[in-house]
């Protein structure tokens, strides 16, 4: 497939190169359209959010009130902290103007005069790259006052996070922009009514926004024919873990997972089998390696397979992987990142981690397996935001699909782990984590 988000053109991050290849033509086109026409184009294209929830982007834009005395805001989510996800970083580095152009178009469609692109603090180097591109765009009049003489003005600012996974959650992100701790908010009210500073706000993922210029340039009909009809478009898939060529691959949605692993990412080192796969970042349900045949990278296919697209960050695990160690590490992550507002998540994530550590050292009880499931079930759906669900799903799916791995660790002599002494050291070391 031709690459649209990450084209193979040298120096594409530079404004003049981007312009030479038709850059900012979509913005010019959008400025000549009525705002609702722009939104309608995005709506008809069937573009769905690339941040994890696959929510229809055009529909989300229509939630913004047309008649309001308050300023409206766009927040572009580049917090990208979901383990296994490293796609937006490619956009900041290799195609920053596509993101800036998409942001300006989205502002134009919704009548927004201020946009913030929120980027995780660890990406300091990439923030500078994007800032350079943004400065160039300001100089050329693609952003700022009276854009290209259209009379429409919008400012785009970069806002640097400071190390908190939870700030990728849209309402926590808004609180973080406001200069607060990244605590998710209770909804309703939803951001389109009551977002940053109580004003109408839309939050879109970096990759989602980067799809917008493509749609405006070539039209919704063209776009909606790329990949899977119900979840169309190009998608950036990150492949990591046990593959020969880990990296970000741009494909059309609907690509076979097995093709992504074997054709794009070069297969498994040593030609071993796949034991398990996390298809879309650590929050998505883990799949068995022997159940990947025919499963595709799109919302419908992965749902049918018992998981979800998430951020399309695939983590591949070969047949020698100690899955108990994997799930214990994932549980530790959610325990560390829980913001602490809701009791089920704050306490539950810690309990999951503690009990899983027992299995890691071979000290699990048979009853602990049900206890883990019980705790996970009591977190799921009982918290303000989806971090609780994200902590529960990996544990639930791991038990459902790999119960035997847990049962093996109940015995006094654990097997299946390559380096037991190393494992113990890891458990000791992580015991000092505090919230």
């Amino acid at each position: 497939m031709e690459r649209y988000i990450l084209p193979e053109i040298p120096d594409y991050h530079k404004l003049e190169v981007y312009e030479q290849h038709g850059g900012y033509a979509a913005l010019k086109k959008a400025l000549g359209m009525k705002p609702e026409e722009v939104t309608d184009e995005v709506k008809k294209s069937n573009l769905r959010g690339r941040g994890g929830a696959c929510f229809p982007t055009g529909l989300k834009w229509t939630f913004m009130p047309k008649q309001t005395t308050k300023p409206k805001y766009l927040c572009v989510n580049g917090d990208e902290s979901e383990p296994g996800t490293f796609k937006d970083r490619q956009i900041f580095e290799f195609n920053p103007h596509l993101l800036i152009e998409g942001t300006a178009i989205a502002c134009c469609a919704m009548g927004i005069t201020t946009a913030y692109i929120y980027i995780r603090g660890e990406y300091g180097k990439w923030i500078k790259m994007l800032q350079k591109a943004l400065d160039d765009a300001y100089v050329k009049g693609y952003v700022g006052e009276n854009i290209l003489g259209s009379g429409f003005s919008t400012n785009i600012y970069l806002h640097k996070g400071a190390g908190a996974y939870i700030c990728g959650e849209e309402s926590a992100l808004m609180n973080s922009i406001e200069g607060q701790r990244g605590y998710p908010r209770v909804r309703p009210p939803f951001p389109a009514q009551n977002g940053v500073w109580g004003c109408p706000t839309t939050i879109n993922n970096v990759e989602t926004i980067s799809n917008v210029p493509l749609i405006i340039n070539r039209g919704w009909e063209w776009y909606s024919k790329i990949g899977s009809p119900k979840h169309p478009g190009p998608i950036l898939v990150g492949v990591s873990g046990h593959v020969n060529k880990p990296g970000v691959y741009e494909v059309a949605t609907g690509e076979l997972l097995t093709d992504l692993i074997y054709r794009y990412a070069g297969g498994i080192p040593g030609d071993t089998k796949i034991k398990a796969l996390i298809p879309g970042g650590s929050s998505t349900m883990i799949l068995r390696g022997d159940a990947l045949e025919g499963v595709r990278m799109d919302a419908e296919s992965l749902k049918a397979a018992g998981s979800s697209v998430g951020t399309a960050g695939m983590i591949v695990m070969d047949e020698n992987t100690d899955l108990i160690r994997v799930i214990t590490r994932i549980a530790k992550f959610y325990y560390h990142e829980s913001c602490g507002q809701c009791t089920p998540c704050r306490e539950g994530t810690g309990w999951l981690w503690k009990i899983l550590k027992r299995f890691e050292t071979g000290d699990g009880q048979t009853s602990d397996i049900d206890l883990l499931m019980d705790i996970a079930n009591n977190i799921e759906g009982n918290t303000i935001c989806a971090l609780g669900d994200a902590a529960a799903w990996p544990v639930q799916s791991m038990i459902r699909r790999f119960r035997d791995e847990f049962e093996k660790r109940v015995s006094k002599t654990p097997n299946g782990s390559p380096e037991p002494s190393d494992r113990n050291r890891h458990a000791e070391k992580t015991a000092t984590v505090s919230l």
């Binding site: 990406y123 600012y157 400071a162 190390g163 994997v326 000092t432």
Partner: protein, 154 residues
Amino acid sequence: MLTEENLKKVDELRKRYPKSQAALLPVLWIAQEQEGWISEDMMRHIGTMLNLPFGHVLGVVTFYTMYNSAPKGKYHIEICTNVSCMLRGSDKILEAVEHRCGAKPGQTSADGKWSVSEVECMGACGGAPMLAIGEEYYENLTPDKTERLLESLK
């Protein structure tokens, strides 16, 4: 306290937001870049500047893991041990760092040269295992490469 030059940056920053509280995260970044960490005095200084109670500033500093509320060593080494890195041997990288630096995660070496942190996913899973020093990412590491990297830092 913040330098004259940085105070000017703060004034510019405030224009980006309708309320001054929103400038808190960026101003804390400026403070940390200036001093390497954020002291309680600095937090009070920033609180006064943005009209925020000290408790709010402290709350924010302690919530976000990247703000240092204590001084760090000359080089702050952050090693990712999350799943993608773990699957590709981040344990061995951490071991090499601990061995070379004489500090465990959360510690600073006695000579003040190294601070070591074990961190969550840094978004470099395609280059796992990795570590970061400041804004620089070092990817596709082996224990040998790690040794050589640390050796090169004077």
